[in-house]
């Protein structure tokens, strides 16, 4: 069962070892191999957990309510797979963009000076924090994983020290420090209230004792923290200007995966611990509608590649929360499918933005690139219509099933939020068409061919191929997400695996 600890351990060991390597080439190769290994272990865990198993490891052999538990169920399996995949592509993209130093005044790509300050090591620690938050079954350990992730992300966001980075990084650090403080308070309160920090144990105690206003307070505080991390309205204001400031590979991973950690924590908390807190779930559901609208409207107003995409990321968070808190199983399973889609599509679009920024700078109003870079246009077109949710892409499958779940639930609020979802889908289409018209369409003599390194293009091709295969395998993957949603609805196996015999004394077996 120690397999479950590996997606945390491998990045830790790799990150520490990366500090010892002296050349950028050695660091890149080592980081790639380590991330590949992490991805493989995540794949093993995902295969086993998606077939219905719940994998558990008790750290140090201390049984569940006393020690820290790492748990992998279906949801964890999906998340680990997504973080591993985007992690590997990030390292590959960062490594390949490093070979070619950027033009003066162009911060889009990682340069050697920044790399030497330990970008690769920090990224491994980031991956460790992300994987640990997906795996942990302990509320305080979840806080620790968030901290590991955040401290690494502060470093990655600020390395380079450009004006925009420092200005936006300050906001990012402050809001996250406040959120972390509230998280600790919530964890402390829940320890005082339940006498336990183990999420399965809390769930069982709540099932036995029922809800009261103190439980609602703890749940509210946790919801506040997690919606801040997920960048939902009204606490998502830190995201749209801060995520585009670091190098492309880093901001792609931030946008695709980090906000989803907040969504994951929300889903976990409100399916496992507080499924009875319906008022809070309705509040989050309503906020999800506003988040979609803010995200898609904000995207239209932006003039630069990644700043526009950061707002579309907020919109996709809105879609996810809408499905996950739609109070129906079909909504949750649609949200899980959309989660996979959203990670892949946001990641791909950010990488394409990276290539485009290398070609002609941050702004997208430079016409006529389609004739010079036809394949970039094809890649962008596929991922753009996937983002907007047009058939035959996976975005269509996701959004259609989300809206359908809401309409079949059928109360007034669901209908309003579902119509917002449809409208903001159209707005997102308009936003990506702005880029299409601004960057690819039209005639221009000023466009000159910039040599794109093949490795960078190859990473983008892989990302687009993954996106297409998600659409092609839409049926099986949707069935899978339905199974995971069913598993989350009862959590029976999760509870019985983490706490086989409640009230067990710690084992006293000695090391031989």
């Amino acid at each position: 069962m120690n397999l479950v600890a590996l997606p945390v351990l491998i990045p830790l060991v790799a990150g520490a070892s990366l500090l010892l390597f002296r050349t950028a080439r050695a660091r890149t190769i080592f980081a790639t191999l380590a991330t590949l290994l992490t991805l493989l272990t995540s794949l093993l865990i995902a295969v086993r957990s998606l077939s219905g198993e719940v994998l558990v490891v008790q750290m140090g052999g201390w049984p569940a309510p006393f020690g820290i538990t790492l748990v992998a169920d279906g949801l964890t399996g999906i998340m680990l797979l997504l973080s591993g995949l985007s992690g590997l592509l990030t390292v590959l993209f960062a490594g390949s963009s490093l070979q070619h130093s950027p033009r003066r005044g162009q911060s889009a790509l990682l340069n050697r000076a920044r790399e030497a300050f330990g970008v690769q090591a920090l990224f491994q620690f980031l991956l460790m924090g992300v994987n640990m938050s997906f795996l942990t079954g302990d509320l305080f350990n979840l806080f620790v994983s968030f901290e590991v992730m955040l401290v690494a992300s502060y470093g990655l966001l600020l390395l380079g020290g450009e004006l925009a980075q420092l200005r936006e990084g300050f906001k990012y650090v402050v809001i996250n420090l406040v959120a972390s403080a509230i998280f600790v308070i919530a964890a402390g309160l829940s320890y005082g209230l339940f006498g336990s920090l183990n999420m399965a144990d809390i769930a069982l105690r709540l099932q036995a004792n029922g809800l009261d206003s103190r439980v609602t307070m703890v749940a509210m505080l946790l919801a506040l923290v997690f919606t801040t991390k997920a960048a939902a309205f009204p606490l998502g204001f830190w995201l749209p200007n801060s995520y585009p400031t670091p190098p492309v590979a880093i901001s792609a991973f931030f946008a695709a995966v980090l906000t989803k950690v907040g969504v994951y924590a929300l889903i976990r908390a409100f399916t496992l611990m507080f499924p009875g807190e319906l008022t809070i779930q309705t509040i989050i559901f309503t906020l999800a509608g506003i988040t979609m609208l803010i995200g898609s409207l904000g995207a239209i107003a932006r003039q630069r590649w990644r700043y526009l995409l950061a707002f579309t990321n907020i919109a996709s968070i809105g879609y996810l929360l809408m499905g996950a808190f739609s109070r129906s199983e079909s909504g949750l399973s649609a949200a899980l499918f959309y989660l996979i889609h959203s990670v892949l599509v946001i990641f791909t679009l950010f990488l394409i933005a990276g290539l485009a920024e290398k070609i002609s700078g941050e702004r997208y109003r430079n016409e006529g690139h389609l004739s010079v870079y036809p394949w970039l246009g094809v890649g962008f077109f596929i991922s753009a219509i996937a983002l907007a949710g047009l058939p035959p892409t996976s975005g269509f499958i996701g959004k259609y099933s989300l809206v359908q779940a809401l309409f079949s639930y059928g109360d007034a609020l669901s209908l309003i939020v579902a119509s917002i979802a449809v409208i903001s889908g159209l707005l997102l289409l308009y936003a990506v068409m702005l880029i299409w018209r601004g960057f690819f369409w039209g005639e221009s003599d000023a466009v000159h061919l910039v040599n794109l390194p093949w490795a960078m293009s190859a990473v983008v091709v892989i990302a687009v191929a993954l996106l297409l295969s998600l659409a092609a395998l839409g049926g099986p993957i949707f069935n899978l997400s339905e199974r995971v949603a069913k598993q989350l609805q009862t959590n029976q196996q999760y509870l019985s695996q983490v706490l086989p015999t409640p009230g067990l004394e710690p084992e006293t077996e000695e090391l031989r």
Binding site: A5, L9, A16, L19, L20, V57, Q58, G60, L511
Partner: protein
């Protein structure tokens, strides 16, 4: 001219205090598994010794590249977690027992101490590196100020 070298009394008194601080740090490290203390606190106490050494004698406490302590400490801590996995036991499982040595007598031991030592190395590495970098910056500014005041006269 700026006073570059600190107070004589301060620097003479600091010497034994630094020894006491390091001894206290090691004591806290060794008792940490069962009593208040542990690698983190011990590392901070040693960092205080490094700070004192900089302030009183204008000299680094550790004469090697302290930055390297960070990865090695992390690796030691990780290895303590991984070793039981290789024996087929849960991650981070700690072995413990008792030893009786001449002069010292009976004392408990625990493999978790190795983990604590890893933490200790990381904390010492980070804090001492920060202190040294700040001190070098301050020294640099001192030199700049001296040069500037020299130009005025």
């Amino acid at each position: 001219m700026m006073i570059k070298y600190p107070d004589v009394f301060f620097s003479v008194l600091a010497r034994p205090v630094i020894f006491v601080l390091i001894a206290l740090g090691l004591h806290l490290l060794l008792r940490g598994a069962k009593a208040p203390g542990g690698g983190f606190i011990a590392g901070l106490v040693v960092a205080a010794a490094a700070l004192l050494s900089r302030m009183a004698m204008d000299r680094p406490l550790l004469s090697f590249n302290t930055r390297l302590l960070i990865p090695w400490g992390l690796l030691l801590a990780a290895a303590t977690g991984i070793a039981p996995m290789l024996l087929g036991l849960p991650f981070l499982k700690s072995a413990f027992g008792y030893q009786t040595w001449p002069f010292i007598g009976k004392f408990p031991w625990e493999t978790a101490l190795l983990f604590d030592m890893g933490v200790f190395l990381v904390v010492v590495g980070i804090t001492v590196t920060i202190i040294d970098l700040l001190a070098q910056e301050a020294e640099y500014e001192l030199v700049v100020m001296e040069v500037e005041s020299g130009q005025e006269h």
